[in-house]
């Protein structure tokens, strides 16, 4: 719901529900203050969320795109705006501009295996892709979700991951960088899950979101298994002030992450990705 005549104007949404995910991360469910035609978006896109008098931050949509009456955002409180949203809590009103940016290649992925690799909060923008895949499960080959969190306390969407584990048509693997007492799962960085994951490298679309180093090593590992560079998609993060290609802050080489990204086909950016300070 971007006002095309003035894309700077936010639309008011009420926080209908708040769900704690981890000690610093929470999910808000937003409904419009004024009735509208529903919010439609594509998996991987983001909104600019505004808190009255405080500021704006780009946050990915993480809900099921089939549901248009409400939207969800999973937010890690790391600074001014994200903490302010946390303080608003249930009933609070935020401004929403979006959806902005490119999306995961769910159409191109049809007929292929799909490997989804997420690090930390990077799982949030990938969740709508999983919802969409599950809604059209027969269109896709094998599905693997490989998720890495720093510690067991950092695991997002715990209940949902449990539920998905019960499905026989998706391979779910979770690992933590460092374990705590009682953790019986994998320990190690997320890339260690790649060699054992079930997919046909030559017919696989990979979707990756996480910190840049994590993405760098994930890409290497996937390429080692034979996944083609043009079948790898990553989501980039840059400072954003406008979301619509005007402020210049999100530039990454010749691209604007807000409009040419955040989802990039890797072969389009591989010559600059990983270069320092680009």
């Amino acid at each position: 719901m971007v006002d095309t005549a003035n894309p700077f104007i936010p639309t008011q949404y009420r926080i209908q529900k708040v769900l704690g995910e981890t000690y610093d991360t929470f999910t808000v469910e937003l409904v419009p203050l004024q009735d509208n035609d529903g919010f439609s978006f594509l998996p991987g896109q983001f909104n600019m969320l505004y808190v009255f008098g405080v500021g704006e931050a780009p946050i990915s949509l993480c809900s099921d795109p089939a549901i248009e009456t409400s939207i969800k955002h999973t937010i890690r409180a790391v600074g001014t705006v994200t903490s302010a949203i946390q303080r608003l809590g249930r009933g609070g009103v935020v401004g929403v501009r979006g959806p902005f940016g490119t999306h995961w290649p769910l159409d191109d992925a049809k007929g292929n295996d799909v490997v989804i690799v997420a690090g930390g909060i990077g799982l949030a923008p990938l969740r709508p892709a999983l919802y969409q895949i599950f809604a059209h499960r027969e269109k896709y080959g094998r599905i693997a979700l490989l998720f890495g969190a720093r510690t067991p306390h950092d695991i997002l969407y715990k209940h949902e991951l449990e539920r998905w584990r019960g499905r026989f048509d998706v391979e779910i693997k979770v690992t933590v960088d460092s374990a705590i007492n009682g953790w019986r799962g994998n320990v190690g960085v997320v890339t260690t899950l790649i060699p054992g994951a079930q997919f046909d490298p030559l017919n696989t679309i990979a979707m990756i979101c996480g910190p840049e180093v994590m993405m760098r090593f994930t890409i290497k590992e996937l390429q080692n298994r034979g996944v083609k560079t043009e079948n790898i998609y990553i989501s980039m993060e840059r400072n954003m002030k406008c979301g619509v290609g005007f402020c210049g802050h999100c530039q990454f080489g010749p691209t604007f992450v807000c409009k040419d990204g955040p989802i990039f086909r890797f072969d389009r950016i591989n010559t600059i990705f990983g270069k320092r300070e680009i």
Partner: protein
């Protein structure tokens, strides 16, 4: 600007003492007249009331890090080049309220904030700046979204261009194919002619119907062959006396090949990351936003301000700034101007106006930095190339 009309290109002569009539006619049509005038120790762009507000008889001396006003020995209206200001300050103000909001029982609402924007008449736009305006048109009006504030100002702007009668010490429009002759994007374009016997007139070219309409009511006559020739000679001479040059062949790939080049370390030692270059540049468009509230906390406003890729905050994300070093910030700026801009908007981001050279406190020179990279490239391993990518593929 009005519509272009091919039938209105006949050149005419406007006597210098009828210039005021032109201004008056524009005023009658409720234009806010802005143009060059003396201020802040330089020739700046500001409101003009009469022709006497122009820097008549003044000129400027420019070089790397140097700007000096000087008296001319004639009464030329436009006998200087470009100063620290550019027209972007009118079309794209350095500070602008994007909207205001008020707290209410439902949270908050955006308040109606329609302020009347007066249409501008730009007097004395140089060819490089016509190109700069066109570059910003592309940035703000030809993407997925159109920037409403820019558009509202731009759509009704009247442009009186001036062909340069002299080149400045830091000018290189001839290298960038952006001047010194105004070839499009104006309503009217003038070449100023001062003859030794005291004759002072303008050869006027019409670019649009609106321009023709205005001109209709200003006393003028058809230009003679030799007058047109005199104007052409002036432009040709200007073209041949550029203070700087820049080789643009293959420039995008040159810079893409040289993301890692020792010259960036060298310039980083000199650059103060003061951001002057980005402020004076007529095409630089980066902004930040500031959210403010009043004391009661009932009102909030969102302001947009010019920003610069030279600041540390510019690329800040959780965990730190992407471009923490001065080297990476200078590289970002220059590579954007001369290379990535071409992929983004289909034109160079540099129009060769020379402002960044003149106003750099330590005289860093974009033409020299480019030349040094080009010169030393052979001796430097070129394995860092980046290929042109179509990044809109999955949009």
């Amino acid at each position: 600007m009005g519509k272009n009309n091919k039938n209105t290109t006949e050149k005419v002569i406007l006597k210098h003492d009828h210039f005021q009539t032109l201004i008056d006619l524009l005023k009658e049509r409720e234009y806010r007249i802005v143009g060059p005038t003396l201020g802040e120790g330089a020739i700046v762009y500001d409101d003009l009331n009469t022709v006497d507000d122009l820097p008549i008889g003044w000129t400027d001396d420019q070089d790397g890090g140097v700007y000096r006003l000087k008296k001319r020995n004639d009464r030329a209206f436009f006998g200087y080049t470009v100063g620290p200001h550019s027209w972007k300050k009118f079309l794209f103000p350095s500070q602008l309220r994007l909207w205001k909001a008020r707290r209410d029982e439902n949270g908050f609402h955006i308040e109606n904030d329609k302020n009347e924007i007066r249409k501008f008449a730009f007097i004395g736009v140089r060819s490089c700046d016509l190109h700069a305006i066109s570059v910003q048109d592309t940035v703000f009006m030809h993407g997925i979204y159109s920037e409403p504030n820019y558009k509202a100002r731009r759509e009704h702007t009247f442009i009186l261009a001036v062909n340069c009668g002299m080149a400045g010490g830091t000018c290189f429009c001839a290298s960038m194919s952006t001047g010194p002759e105004a070839t499009s994007g104006f309503d009217l374009a003038l070449t100023e002619i001062l003859q030794e016997k005291g004759e002072h007139y303008f050869v006027v070219e019409t670019g649009t119907e609106l321009g023709a309409e205005i001109l209709l009511n200003v006393p003028h006559r058809e230009a003679k062959k030799e007058e047109i020739h005199a104007a052409e000679t002036i432009i040709k001479n200007t073209s041949q006396s550029m203070g700087r040059t820049m080789e643009t062949k293959d420039i995008k790939d040159l810079l893409y090949r040289n993301y890692e080049h020792p010259r960036w370390d060298d310039v980083a030692k000199r650059c103060l990351t003061c951001a002057n270059c980005t402020m004076v540049c007529p095409t630089c468009f980066c902004t930040t936003v500031e959210d403010v509230t009043d004391l009661t906390g009932e009102h909030a406003e969102r302001w947009r301000k010019w920003d610069s890729c030279f600041t540390m905050d510019f690329s800040f994300i959780h965990g730190g700034s992407i471009r923490a070093s001065a080297k990476s910030r200078y590289r970002q700026w220059m590579t954007h101007k001369l290379a990535t801009w071409i992929d983004q908007f289909g034109t160079s981001g540099c129009v060769g106006c020379g402002r960044c050279i003149t106003w750099c406190p330590v005289a860093i020179d974009i033409t020299e930095e480019t030349r040094e990279i080009r010169k030393s490239e052979q001796t430097h391993s070129p394995n860092n190339s980046i290929k042109e990518g179509n990044n809109n593929e999955n949009a």
